[in-house]
């Protein structure tokens, strides 16, 4: 699928960097070329966080994305900031529970996922980011769901099996939600 760039953005604490890390780790498990670039400006201290993950079949020249193929946006300010930086025919994944606006552009696809509601229903309030990752991967095929679940096991190894299981479930629910949407 060539070189694919995904931007993740949201408030600090929403697990934005973790989403990027899990995706990059999954790509690595599939022997793809990957880079993970966190934003490290003074903005980190102000409360928002974002990162860019590149997954590619060929070596990656620049880890920076002027325009991204996909964006996973966890709050309203992220949508305002990144709406203009998505490629035509790109896909935006919104946390529908928290993002109050919708993109004005008509040349991109929008998938709104009630990630907080789903995570809450699973008794895993902090798992909204994993719901989003499940949705992203299911919709785009960037990496396989299997690789993501494998990554979650290694990334959360020190957190114990309960956390791993809860996050695996959240990923599967995110994927299932997207399946439901595309089926309707």
């Amino acid at each position: 699928m060539g070189i694919t760039k995904t931007i993740f953005s949201g408030f600090g604490g929403q697990g934005v960097l973790m989403m990027g890390y899990v995706l990059a780790t999954s790509g690595m498990h599939e022997d793809k070329h990957v880079t993970f670039l966190p934003s490290y400006g003074a903005e980190v201290r102000g409360g928002t966080a974002n990162c860019t993950v590149t997954v590619s079949d060929e070596p990656i020249a620049s880890p920076v994305a002027s325009f991204s193929d996909f964006a996973v946006l966890m709050n309203t300010p992220s949508l305002i900031r990144f709406e203009t930086r998505i490629k035509t025919e790109g896909i935006v994944f919104l946390n529908g529970d928290l993002v109050e606006l919708r993109p004005k552009r008509r040349d991109i696809q929008v998938v709104a996922i009630p990630a907080n509601s789903i995570a809450e229903r699973l008794g895993n309030v902090r798992g909204a980011n994993m719901v989003m990752i499940g949705a992203l991967v299911q919709k785009t095929g960037l990496v396989s769901l299997k690789s993501v679940i494998k990554s979650v096991k290694s990334v959360f190894e020190t957190k114990g099996s309960k956390v791993q299981k809860m996050n695996t479930l959240a990923i599967k629910e995110g994927a299932a939600f997207v399946n439901g949407v595309s089926g309707s």
Partner: protein, 355 residues
Amino acid sequence: MTKQLMRGSHAIAEAATRAGCRFFAGYPITPQNELPEYMSKRFAELEDATFIQAESELAAINMVMGASMAGLRAMTSSSSPGISLKQEGISYMAGMELPAVVVNIMRGGPGLGNIAPTQQDYFQATRGGGHGGYRTIVLAPYSGQELVTLTMKAFDLADAYRMSVILLGDGLIGQMMEPVTFPDPIDPATLPEKDWVLDGARGRNSRFIASLRLDPVQMEQFNWKLARKYAAICERETEHESYLLDDAIVAVVAFGTAARIAKGAVNQVRKVGLKAGLFRPITLWPFPGKELRALTHTIKNLLVFEMNFGQMVEDVKISVGEQATVHFHGRPGGIISTPHDIAAAITKLIYRNEL
């Protein structure tokens, strides 16, 4: 060993530990704080290693000087303004022929500047940096994996030539995560013995290490000794990468992060049939000038790309003389050009000059 997804500054720190580095002193500055952070944790696992967060950059480099004198593989890291502060110590170490590895994760300048990635310290790194006309070997990694190999190589070079080696990266390569693998760790006890260290004179004659040489004759002799050493390094230690240069009519010359972006640009223009390649210096000092000059038998146009407003371009011009036309594209201040920007610069160069 298996691949791990690792941040650039962590990869440097882990590689240094595996190279047998057992002393680290540093003082915090963005964008390289993750390096000492990792070092502090990693060294806590080792019984024979010392990590110190010093009270200043000056203190840190002087601590490295002491550890080096005592025979340890020693390292410090900082970012541009902090490296300026360390220059006095680096010069003194040159005056005492002490090995050390100094990591500079460059940011925007001059002055306090910003924390964005640049290559604005090329002059400082390749011209010695401090007073007295000494040299430092300068290595320019362009990927996570090269951070590992060049960090380990830096310690070998430092010991072999008894001098400071600068690992010159930037904020982007320091912050970015990429898959890396590590070789097995080296046990410091297995490293070649140093017959000059100050480790207690019991059972042998005492040794003396100082950079003070009041007698001009003695000072001149020492300078000529350095000159011979530097000439030998220029002869033996240059390293570079050639990429798609065999049939190229334009060679992009770039190092570090810029070279990575340039490689993407070369791939882009190749897709539309434009014959461009990349010459990537891996050692910035010694500069691979001879190898670059050899290219000009077939390639008459070079496009230097740097994340500054023109520093390495001077070394390129010195190397090729009148044998080729040297063009330049640069963005200082922390602007990161895209492969597309460089592809556009290559395309324009070829069409404009009917190459």
